[in-house]
Amino acid sequence: MSQTRFSSSKKLTIIWVILIALTLSTAYIGYLELSGLYIVAFLLLTVTVKGQLIIDHYIGLKDVRGFWRLAMLGFVYVIPGIILTGYYLSSV
C-alpha cells in the first residue's frame, strides 16, 4: 500500500479543521438567511471541497485506480452542479 494514504495523523487533523471551518461558514450563511445564486454557488462549492477532502484523505481514494474514485468524485461534483443548475433555472 502506498505511503500517501493516511501518511500523517497531523494531516487528517488539518483536514478536519478545514472541514469544520467550511461547515461554520455554511452555518453563518444560514444564520444570516442569505440567498441568491452566488450564495448557492458558494455553498455548493463548499460541498464539493468538503466531499473531495473526505473522499481523497479520509476514505483514502486519492491514489486508487480510476473508476471508483471518479465515481465518488462524480457525486460531489455532478450532484452540486445539477443542484446549482436547478436553482438557476428556478430563479430565471
Binding site: L12, I29, L43, I54, I83
Partner: protein, 195 residues
Amino acid sequence: MSDSVAQGIIKKDPLPGDLAIWFVIMAEMLVFGVFFIVYVVVRSNNVELFNEYQLELHRMGGVINTIVLITSSYFVALGIYAIRKGNVQRTGNMLLLAIFMGAIFVGVKIWEYSHVFGAGIHLSTNTFYTFYISLTFFHFMHVMLGMVILAIIYYYLRKGKYTAESHQDIETGASYWHMVDLLWIVLFPLVYIIR
C-alpha cells in the same frame, strides 16, 4: 517517494475495504443523488413554499449534526491510521469516539423530530416536509446501520481479530461510515440552508 515511483512505475492503492461494500456505497449514493435532484426539481415548482418552511427547521441542530458527523469521520480515519501501525488500543478508542459522535447525531435528530412531530407536522403536511422527513429519516437509518457496523467491528477488534496486516473489515466499515458523512454533507445545506 516510494521505490515504485522512483522506478517510474506509479503504483496505485487498492480500494479500501471489501469490493462488495463499494457496490453498496455506489447504489446508496445513486439513490440519494436522485432524491436530491428530485428535491431540486420539485422545489423549482414550489419555491415560496420551500423557502417559507425551510426557515422553520432547526438549523443549529443541522449544524451540530454536520460537525458531529465530520468529527466521527475524522475519528474513523484516525482509527484506520492506528490499525495500519498495529496500534489496536488506539484503534478501539477511535472507533468508540466515532460511535459516540454517531450517538450524538441520533440524539440531536430525535430531539429535532420530537419538535417537528410534536408540532403536528407529518409526511403529508406539505411537499417540503415530505422531502425533509423522508430524506432525513432515510439518512438517519443509514447512520443507525453505520453505528451497528462500527460496533461490530469494535467487538471483533477487542477479540483480537485485526492486525496491521489484516484489517479489511475495519476498512470496509470505515468506507460505509464515510459515505454516511458524505451524504449528510450534501443533504444539510440543500435542505436546511440553500434558499
